[in-house]
Point group: C2
Chain length 403, copies 2
């Protein structure tokens, strides 16, 4: 079996943790599997490099930005190879230009075009364990690029596609995908299986457990994923390629995203021009809705002022654009949500009982999101977790046992 094992920043934060991660590689290798390792930068290093860049230049050229920040993965790539070799395993490091990982020239948000499998396959056939630097690619003109935050997930999934790997294991500092954030809901439960579509929804909604573009690539290319902990035993969450015929709970998991704002403006006919300009400025619109001649959408709060200025720049200074701040987006992910009115009714029951205003909502087949004032966010997550019975009998039993 050929397995991709990817270790995130907290899994390689110190030399000691690198050795703990390397032990998972050793296990798989000694069980007779072929293994390709992908590493992120040590936790905190990318932030440090990012600070250096902005200390030197307020509006950095993105090609040079990528040269600086991609060095973090280079460091862990070499260190992981050293840790594996010190365990007697035949490992060697591979930087993106050595593989090569071919990528588009959109610096700092580049996309993988193709990973050439030939040199890695040749190394695997000699029994080697290639350790690949995540997050980075090389363009057709031999420039370094990066894939944006969380980009090592993309490298891992893209390698799984290119090498036709049997599975891609993403090692994290959490045991897998949970029914809710355990800091909000203490008895949040690990979800052992979920569909690729559900995973994509969760990732897009800001669940940090997987980079959204990696989730998209895995879904579209049929990569078998597993998310699991580097530090705790456990089988993690398996992301299934095909929806399981077995009946499942309707709501699978809750995600809460704070620091959101909602912009509202008068609807005009030149809306598609506005959309184009917003896309160019990398503003992603979420929860868009139209009502009484106005349109509204949600976005991260720190982008609100800049986006308002941009809209007024396009549509005129006198344009009335309002910003509603300090909101939280709470999302439910599951299967067939739209077809089940009881889901929606349970939600409204919770909100009306606590007299919490619903500031916005959007609903699709697999996802429902609502906007509420940030101060109520944790309360709402806890109540919904209970209403939708996400804790389940199993976790109640565990609670009783540990009491």
């Amino acid at each position: 079996m050929l397995v991709i094992q990817k270790f995130g920043g907290t899994s390689v934060a110190t030399p000691d943790m690198i050795h703990k991660s390397a032990a998972h590689v050793a296990d798989a290798y000694r069980q007779g599997h072929q293994v390709v390792v992908v590493v992120s930068a040590m936790a905190g290093m990318t932030d440090q490099l990012d600070r250096y860049v902005y200390d030197v230049s307020l509006a950095p050229d993105l090609r040079e930005y990528d040269v600086v920040v991609s060095s973090g993965e280079q460091v862990t790539c070499g260190l992981m190879a050293l840790a594996l070799k010190s365990m007697g395993l035949p490992a060697s490091s591979w930087l993106s230009w050595q593989v090569p990982v071919r990528a588009s020239a959109d610096f700092s948000q580049s996309r993988v075009k193709e990973i050439d499998p030939v040199r890695l396959q040749e190394a695997l056939s000699r029994g080697m364990i290639p350790v690949v630097a995540g997050f980075q690619g090389v363009t057709d003109t031999q420039d370094l690029t990066t894939f944006g935050r969380g980009g090592s997930d993309i490298t891992a999934v893209a390698l799984a596609v290119s090498l036709k790997a049997d599975r891609c294991d993403l090692y994290k500092d959490v045991p897998g995908v949970l029914t809710a954030d355990p800091r909000i809901v203490s008895h949040a439960r690990l979800i052992p299986f979920m569909t690729g579509q559900e995973m994509l929804e969760l990732a897009s909604l800001g669940a940090k457990v997987l980079q959204p573009r990696a989730a998209e690539l895995a879904l579209s290319q049929g990569v078998s994923l597993r998310l699991l902990s580097t530090f705790e035993p456990g089988d993690g969450t398996h992301i299934l390629l095909q929806e399981n015929a077995v009946e499942q709970p309707l709501v699978r998991s809750l995600v809460c995203q704070k620091y959101q704002a909602q912009l509202s403006l008068e609807y005009q006919d030149d809306f598609s021009l506005l959309l184009k300009e917003l896309e160019r400025a990398h503003v992603s619109l979420d929860m868009m809705s139209f009502l009484n001649g106005r349109m509204s959408f949600s976005l991260p709060q720190d982008k609100a002022d800049q986006t308002k200025s941009l809209i007024q720049h396009i549509q005129g200074k006198d344009k009335d654009v309002t910003i509603q701040r300090d909101l939280a987006k709470i999302s439910l992910v599951g299967v067939g949500l739209r077809g089940h009115p009881r889901i929606l009714r349970a939600l409204f029951d919770v909100l009306s009982e606590k007299k919490i205003t619903l500031e916005g909502s959007s609903l699709s087949e697999t996802r429902m999101s609502i906007l509420v004032a940030e101060e109520y966010a944790e309360l709402v997550v806890r109540l919904l977790h209970k209403v939708y019975d996400l804790g389940g009998d199993q976790s109640h039993d565990q609670e009783l046992r540990s009491a």
Copy 2:
């Protein structure tokens, strides 16, 4: 004019210092020169990366060691390009594999084989300022290598050769080459001109102002060098290609190297085998001498025990090898030293007056080195600086004026 400007670790230690260094590039560029910049890692970063490596692996694979430590130059390479761009200059970063800087596969002590000038020349012809990561090269098999400590000097000189540059300016945290270490001799004087041969001797003797292999390359390839300060105004030290006809003082500069030891062993016929093994173990023998059937040589103190073991491994455990520790090597560099008995006599006068034992000595045309107990090292340097009149009239005047 085409100028190579190289900035050492202390010249790029912080974002602010990177901007100070970039100002020198801007000056030269705005005077109409073509400039290629070479950068070291930020002061301290290579040490940090080195610690990471040894925390992960006690006996690191050197290929992976190079992958980790070469990332330091990648960071400053991007940051310097950003600093120049923020000043409105057309700069871009070049990593060794992008140039490419072709190097031998002797990881961690690789040698430059060839620098392909084509892509850099093309960039220069478009008015660009290439910023090249020092210290690193790429092998024929596309592996990263490094040139050893101070290796960015080598990159700079090799680029000067390959691009046929008119001059190579090495920016340091000192004003140039001095007659002695100013921490030992407070009125040590800047040497405005010296020959390439003298520079090579000084560098080989441990004067940290220039990497010895860079000095060797500059001398053999006729590269016009200048060593100067990033932070203070001044013209620095020019290294002349051809010896100047103007009469010069005989002794030019003093270098003191502490933490030395002297090994002594019985001379045997298999000496050339021993030399070969020592070379393989990267032990460089200095101040070799033969007397009464024994041979002795000096070496850095931290290599003494290991070297003794190696000799006994080759010649037999019972072999009598003695180590004399806590020595300092003091060297005089100048022209025609061997032909001037007064140089030697003045030295012996100083030592005998202070009752300091001469533990070893070696003498060539351009260099004289002596070994004395470490505790006397600074005293001897001060006395010799005076005896050989290195302070000169000028500095005496300055002393009087400032008194």
